[in-house]
Amino acid sequence: MTTATEPSKGSFRLSMLLYDTRYRSTTIQVVALLGFMLAAAWLINNVIENLAASGKTFDYRFLWEPAGYDINQRLIEYNSQSTHARAAVVGLLNTLLVAAMGCVTATVIGVFLGILRLSRNWIVSRLAAVYVEAFRNVPVLLWIVLVMAIAIEFFPAPRDFKGENPAATMKFFDMVAITNRGVYLPRPQFANGFGDVVLFGGAWSLNLNVVAVLAVLIASFWISGRIRRWADRVQEETGDRPATWHMRLAVIVLPTAVLLWALGFHFQYPVLKGFGFKGGIHMRNSLLALWLALSLYTGAFIAENVRAGIMAISKGQTEAAAALGLRPGKIMRLVILPQALRVIVPPLISQYLNLTKNSSLAIAVGYMDITGTLGGITLNQTGREMETLLLLMLCYLIISLSISAVMNYYNEKTKLKER
């Protein structure tokens, strides 16, 4: 058959933009783009007009002025004379701290409960189901406030530790104090060592002892990995696996222990002094409440992801593994979970993002995250809503995109390799 309806070229009419299917989709796209640009232009123009109307300027110079307020939890050096920018960084580090702690515990809780929910033991699986449904279906803000309220009302105040016959005592051989101001843990310290190195003209300092210990630990684990691969090789060649646990344990423990001893490693214990406990690591109950609530809440979602991932693996896999003589624990660890990870990881990314973004509820318990410092006190004291909020959004955007990038890389590694 010949093509009878060859369109005549060179006779382009304006109406063809709408009625000719060759051009219509382009027309629609151009119109949509114009509409979008107009909407954006209107929003930006509105902002400029209103800033001008209220006599406000748009600049970030305030970031270099002294902040004037104090922050209780500081991972880097900060005092009330530091700049607003530094206060923002202190808040950012606090956000990252609680997000990192939350992601780790939420994953552990999620994997554990997801597996428990599939247990053949009726009570265990029901209990896991109750947990998941309870935490998933109540707003996380309520969990945060509840944990905080429990921490404040249930645990003893520092003054209860005082006197001849105190109402409360320290736990774990007088090493840990649990109070309604938080938990005081022993602080690792070095009697001698390399001291601190100052970076960027005093803006940052780094403890060389910690760096040294971390370096030795990483090296030890690397050697331990080499030993494992050597054992794998021997097993493949001879069928017998040499016992390596004592070598690997020694490689990991001994160098670090020797280094710690040489650096004069010891613990500084919290002691009751003045109004409360001094010394040790103070984990404030705001951090504890936020961390616990976020982990428990997000853990419930991750548990469902894990359950879905495991259920996506065909039952034949379990049966085949059992036929090969593997025990249930090993089946889960060696056969099911590695395959299930491919299903679990993509939704896991969004759970990590959720947890990080939910950490901005910190202000409910007075945890000074970046929303509390930059988007809270700095905003309020300088009155620069536009600038601080835009900067705040940018920070969360960068954090979220970084998490996505890392997890996507991990997903690439674990996903099914199709050749």
């Binding site: 006599g55 209860d160 007075g366 809270g376 300088t382």
Partner: protein, 338 residues
């Protein structure tokens, strides 16, 4: 194509013009209600009573303004604001005025573009501690855990006070007064700091107020007063002179009991001018002659409002002190009505 862009630009310009601020007085009159920003609940200053009606020292200012402008002291929509949200609420036009324990400072006046219309309470930042702590001076608070309301001048004063006295402290930032109370009573912080009047109000709400003391040191000047947006002078004048009318009423002895009597006309020209039987002061800023009469009648004069809400016979038990009239050794002073 050119036409589309031109039309779009026109649309943008048209929409943007609609957002420019109109006169607040006209807005309030058209709405029939005054939107007044108050605190989220501070007994004596602004808190809903048992029947859900807002009452208090700051609330009375809102009611007086509503009575002056709308002839109805109940035509007020109270918008509870926290230390953090109050300025955004005012700047964005969500509220017409703010009567909320707000300290008059240079940056708020100049940089944040607000207009403080006067001072209705001369305050200062203090500390409250449980008696059992055995602390008698703020200088003994080295190392203490301090509960503060975030987003206020208090956290800046606190940082300055501890720094200048070479003391350390652990700040516990808190969003609202109710949470501060909870943490303080549970012993999660050693001391609670805010304006001394706020401490008295908080203490009055305790089960055993006698177990807590307010330390003698006052570490800052906190002149509190109502404020409006910068740029609408007419509205600013109305709020300013409503406050002044209440103060002048106390000075001239006009009370809610005798105001009807005095409004019939007296031989004191200043009372006559204030209550509208002589001249037309109200007409100068777009109100009627009776505006001040209604404002005073709404809750009484300045002294009556003080005594009724936070005075010595209330649970707060605050004495007039600096907040007495200038004729009685205080700082409360109104420019003359003429």
């Amino acid at each position: 194509m050119k036409k589309t862009i031109l039309l779009g630009a026109l649309t943008v310009a048209g929409l943007a013009a609609g957002t420019a601020a109109a006169a607040t007085l006209d807005d309030v009159k058209a709405r029939g209600k005054l939107n007044c920003g108050v605190s989220t609940g501070l007994v004596g200053f602004a808190a809903p009573d048992a029947s859900g009606e807002w009452a208090g020292y700051d609330v009375a200012i809102c009611r007086a303004v509503a009575a002056a402008v709308l002839a109805d002291p109940t035509a007020v929509e109270f918008v509870p604001t926290t230390g953090k949200t109050r300025f955004t609420a005012l700047a964005s036009g969500e509220v017409d005025m703010l009567a909320r324990n707000t300290t008059w400072t240079f940056t708020r006046d100049v940089d944040l573009k607000f207009e403080f219309v006067g001072i209705n309470y001369y305050d200062g930042q203090g500390f409250m501690v449980p008696k059992s702590l055995g602390v008698t001076s703020a200088k003994d608070l080295d190392g203490a855990t301090v509960c503060i309301q975030t987003g206020t001048t208090t956290e800046l004063n606190l940082a300055d006070f501890f720094r200048s006295n070479n003391m350390s402290y652990e700040p516990v930032p808190i969003e609202t007064n109710a949470e501060a109370q909870q943490q303080y009573l549970a012993g999660a912080c050693d001391t609670l700091t805010t304006d001394a009047s706020g401490l008295a109000a908080t203490r009055a709400a305790f089960e055993n107020p006698g177990d807590h003391v307010v330390l003698p040191e006052i570490i800052s000047k906190e002149p509190l007063g109502p404020l409006v947006r910068h740029g609408d002078q007419q509205w600013g004048d109305i709020v300013r002179w409503t406050l002044n009318a209440l103060i002048t009423a106390e000075e001239l002895g006009i009370t809610s009991a005798n105001i009807d009597e005095l409004a019939k006309g007296t031989n004191n020209p200043e009372i006559n001018r204030l209550l509208g039987t002589e001249g037309d002061l109200g007409g100068m800023f777009g109100l009627d002659k009776q505006w001040a009469y209604r404002a005073i009648k709404a809750g009484g004069n300045f002294g009556e409002i003080f005594e009724k809400n936070i005075g010595e016979n209330t649970p707060l038990g605050l004495s007039r002190g600096l907040n007495a009239l200038w004729t009685e050794g205080g700082l409360i002073y109104s420019p003359p009505f003429r």
